[in-house]
């Protein structure tokens, strides 16, 4: 018992140990908001999203048009170009900043969509396995075990390395790779929740299993999982970049981080900025997402320990 819990004991008010606010999810947000990195991360992330969505519309610099005269311009060139190329240009004279922004946009889209997909699929499977128990549970768990034993890369290259990969197939592969973890977590948390008294109370009142699952258990366990899923957006964005690098992601001429970095490796010695700077932008975006997600995860752990 920590000293703070002792204080609760002395306060003769046992309600002190329970948090203010509505639910675990809302409390997580509230607690996370208090930390500096959450706010910084949110700010940077918001900035980047806005740039990547609006930028290409607003600016008249093209991401795909070649400018043979302006190839291999380093960042912030003073001479030799009509437009300010903040990140420089690549081997075909294309503006790297715009390419990076569009790459970011694609990466985000894929990241968010795939996480939504794996969350939905995984949690649904996990809820069912956890609640209906025994055989459904065993089969589903073996399935997730098997799925988790196949490295993502192998699965990705196998599926995407054949046909021309589309954004949809990339998202599909990522969902396939990611759903088992959500299923497991949901299942174990769901099992624990099932033991709680309010579930028993509901059963005694006559509530059916489905009702309990949807109305009681899901609203309690899903929000914390959903918030921490933010971290997976960053992970999926990395995978997307890796796929692009190997050549099995979204195909050129659509700019993606992976393809930009990959094509830049050839010119590493002379035009290092082609690889390094877009990658830096990616790293910063990932960093901001990880700050946000990390703060949420810490908030959740703190709350769970405060209660339990």
């Amino acid at each position: 018992m920590t000293a703070v819990n002792l204080a609760a004991d002395s306060a003769a008010d046992t309600a002190v140990s329970h948090p203010k606010g509505t639910s675990l999810g809302a409390n997580m947000l509230r607690l996370a908001w208090r930390s500096m990195d959450f706010r910084i991360g949110l700010f940077v992330f918001g900035l980047l999203i806005t740039l990547s969505v609006i930028g290409p519309f607003v600016s008249n610099i093209s991401a795909t048009q070649f400018h043979i005269m302006e190839r291999f311009l380093p960042p912030f060139p003073m001479v030799g170009s009509r437009w300010p190329h903040i990140f420089g240009t690549d081997e075909l004279g294309r503006d790297l900043f715009m390419r990076s922004l569009i790459g970011l946009r694609n990466a985000l889209a894929i990241g968010v969509t795939s996480v939504i997909g794996m969350f939905t699929l995984g949690c649904a499977v996990g809820l069912v396995a956890g609640y209906f128990g025994r055989w459904t549970d065993i089969i589903l768990m073996r399935l997730t075990d098997a799925q988790m034993s196949i490295p993502v890369i192998i699965m990705a290259i196998t599926i995407l390395g054949v046909s021309r990969p589309t954004p949809a197939s990339v998202v599909a592969v990522l969902v396939l790779a990611g759903w088992p973890v959500y299923a497991r977590v949901t299942r174990s948390v769901g099992l624990a929740e099932r033991q709680k008294e309010y579930v028993r109370a509901a059963k005694i009142l006559g509530a059916s299993d489905i009702r309990i699952m949807l109305l009681h258990i899901a609203p309690n366990i899903l929000p914390p999982i959903a918030f921490v899923a933010v971290l997976d957006i960053a992970r999926m964005m990395i995978f997307e970049a890796i796929f692009g690098f190997i050549g099995i992601g979204i195909q050129p001429p659509t700019p993606t981080f992976g393809t930009i970095i990959a094509s830049g490796t050839q010119y590493l010695i002379n035009a290092w900025w082609i690889t390094a700077i877009p990658g830096l932008l990616l790293a910063i975006s990932l960093g901001s997402i990880n700050l946000v997600g990390g703060a949420l995860e810490r908030a959740r752990n703190q709350l769970l320990q405060g209660i339990g």
Binding site: L6, S10, S23
Partner: protein, 606 residues
């Protein structure tokens, strides 16, 4: 030996400073048992920690001294203070399960402590000392238990082991903070006896902190009453009980629930129909037996329970942990299916009803559980939680459901403003009222209260008992009270069943049970219960030894035989049924054999 002078401790919380203890002074003499009594919030835990140098931010000692053999413990340099811990000062807390590292054997950890505190002792010598102490505290098969892990120890055994851990270095004084709270009554009584015996051998002074005047009465020579961080009164125990000087103490004494001198408000049954009949109900669970490849243990939680509950009465079921009463409540409320036996509700056999058929019957009987915090879902607002039963069962329009919910809320004493609020800020008492309101929505005729009041303090308990009485008069409800609290059951129950290891061992009317018990286990329970009254019989011959046997290895013959002070040879062979005892009482003991009296057996053998 120990002089505490003007000790004060403050708590810094969210920028404000709040005094937790103010101006505490007392003396502790060698070989004395010094009791400290206070309600929750009085600061007694902080006091016990201050004595063993366990105060850290946000708590801080702001004034006073603790003089031990001349020097003030509080002003000693840290190295000196740490040297005293475990060596001359010992501490046992209320959480036996969490006190030791769960991954290492218990004996090894006690040896570790001994060698840390007395470095010159060799491992072999330390082990010898620990083993002899383990035997002294009557842990069975001490040498085997030495190598067992904490999770393999029951609560009572763990407290014994921790007593060994505390006394192995022969400390000058020992602080026992609420050590009996997590234990069953018969086990706690044994621990208290043990402490007294050991104290004589070890010459250790004991500071015994508790919130139960009954326990203090049993063990303490002198008592200090703590009220809101201050000393209210200090006297030798016997004098305190007879002539309390302070008004607070007087109130405290008055509030101790009496058993033999209680005012009993138990309703009589209205008529002769039984609203619930339970016949030979049994239930077992499987647990993996790690000793065999595919082996399983059979845990026989309930082994043939039969009784009838009459309409309008309050039926009590009491027992210690492991007796099967929680399993029984789950069986009665049909949360789990029975393995054997029959449950008849208002004439209808509900043992094997399908979920659908059961649904309509659920309106007839409901169950209220113990934990007020977890039984009320946190994600619905109060009104929705209360409305839920009628929403599940259907049939009424939304508006009607809401009106009924509001009406029920007023009836149980909840302000209607709470309807749209989330249960977050509610107190335990209010939450239980939400539970009651929810159950009452279906207008049940039978309510099973499974330790419903155990988590509440005395004041709230009293209020809720009054509420139950009110509801009973108005709605003609029958109650089944399942509890381990004998005092509460004495207050309100018409008839009481005592359970042990999955069986009912005695079933008697309220007065008979307490004044003329018919089973050795009942005698033992009543002897062990902490009370400040005199009991109507001599207690020494009924006190139990040892722990209840594992529900896995139930001994043949009478299951109580291994601990019964009055067992004789027939008890090892024959498993007694419930014999009649007097016109309406039953007892499962060969000493009450009908062969000596006319009248038949009530229940058939399992």
């Amino acid at each position: 030996m120990l002089k505490v002078r003007s000790l004060s401790v403050d708590l810094a919380v969210e920028g404000r400073i709040r005094p937790v203890l103010a101006d505490i002074s007392f003396d502790l003499h060698e070989r004395e048992v010094f009791g400290v009594i206070g309600e929750s919030g009085s600061g007694k835990t902080v006091l016990s920690r201050a004595l063993v140098n366990w105060i850290s931010p946000p708590l801080s000692i702001t004034a006073g001294s603790v003089e031990y053999h001349g020097s003030n413990l509080l002003s000693l340099p840290a190295a000196e203070k740490n040297r005293l811990n475990g060596r001359e000062i010992a501490y046992i807390g209320a959480n036996p399960g969490g006190a030791l590292d769960p991954t290492l054997p218990v004996g090894q950890q006690i040896v570790e402590k001994l060698r840390a505190v007395e470095p010159k002792v060799s491992t072999r010598e330390a082990k010898r000392r620990v083993l002899s102490l383990l035997e002294a505290v009557r842990i069975p098969s001490a040498s085997r238990q030495f190598d067992q892990f904490p999770f393999q120890f029951s609560g009572g055994m763990m407290q014994r082991a921790l007593i060994v851990d505390a006394l192995v270095s022969n400390p000058a004084f020992l602080v026992a903070d609420n050590i009996t709270q997590p234990l069953d009554v018969t086990v706690a009584a044994q621990i208290l006896r043990l402490l007294r015996e050991l104290q004589n051998d070890f010459r250790t002074a004991i500071v015994f902190v508790s919130s139960s005047l009954g326990f203090i009465h049993e063990i303490a020579d002198e008592v200090l009453v703590l009220k809101e961080g201050r000393v209210a009164e200090q006297q030798p125990t016997a004098m305190l009980l007879r002539q309390p000087r302070d008004a607070y103490t007087r109130q405290l004494i008055k509030d101790v629930p009496r058993i033999w001198h209680a005012s009993v408000k138990a309703p009589a049954a209205t008529g002769t129909t039984a609203i619930l009949t339970v016949r030979n109900v049994a239930k077992s669970y499987q647990a993996r037996d790690r000793r065999f490849i595919f082996g399983h243990h059979q845990i026989r939680a309930v082994r043939g329970v039969s009784f009838e509950v009459m309409q309008g009465e309050n039926f009590g079921i009491v027992g210690e942990s492991g007796c099967g009463k929680s399993t029984l409540s789950r069986l009665l409320s049909r949360l789990e299916p029975v393995d054997q036996g029959q449950i008849v509700f208002k004439g209808k056999d509900v043992t094997h009803l399908s979920r659908r058929a059961l649904l309509s019957l659920r309106k007839g009987f409901q169950l209220l559980l113990q934990d007020p915090y977890n039984a009320v879902p946190g994600h619905f607002h109060v009104g929705r939680t209360i409305e839920e039963p009628l929403l599940i069962h259907g049939g009424l329009r939304r508006r009607e459901v809401r009106e009924r919910a509001l009406a029920v809320m007023s009836e149980v004493g909840l302000s209607q403003d709470l309807f749209h609020k989330l249960p977050v800020g509610l107190s335990a008492g209010q939450r239980q009222r939400v539970n009651i309101a929810r159950a009452m929505m279906l207008d049940p005729e039978l309510l099973i209260l499974d330790e419903t009041l155990s988590a509440l303090d005395q004041v709230e308990q009293a209020k809720l008992l009054d509420l139950f009485e009110k509801i009973q008069k108005r709605h003609k409800v029958t109650y089944i009270y399942i509890s381990h609290d004998l005092a509460m059951v004495r207050r309100v129950c018409t008839r009481i069943a005592v359970m042990y290891l999955g069986r009912v061992v005695e079933l008697a009317g309220n007065h008979s049970l307490f004044f003329d018990p018919g089973h050795p286990y009942t005698f033992a329970l009543l002897s062990a219960v902490p009370a400040i009254e005199d009991r109507p019989y001599r207690t020494e011959q009924y006190l139990l030894e040892g722990e209840p046997p594992d529900p896995i290895d139930i001994p043949p013959g009478c299951s109580f035989r291994t601990r019964c002070p009055m067992a004789f040879d027939r008890c090892a062979i024959d498993d007694p049924w419930l014999y009649r005892r007097g016109p309406s009482n039953l007892s499962a003991c060969h000493l009450v054999d009908p062969a000596a009296r006319p009248g038949g057996r009530l229940s058939s053998p399992p």
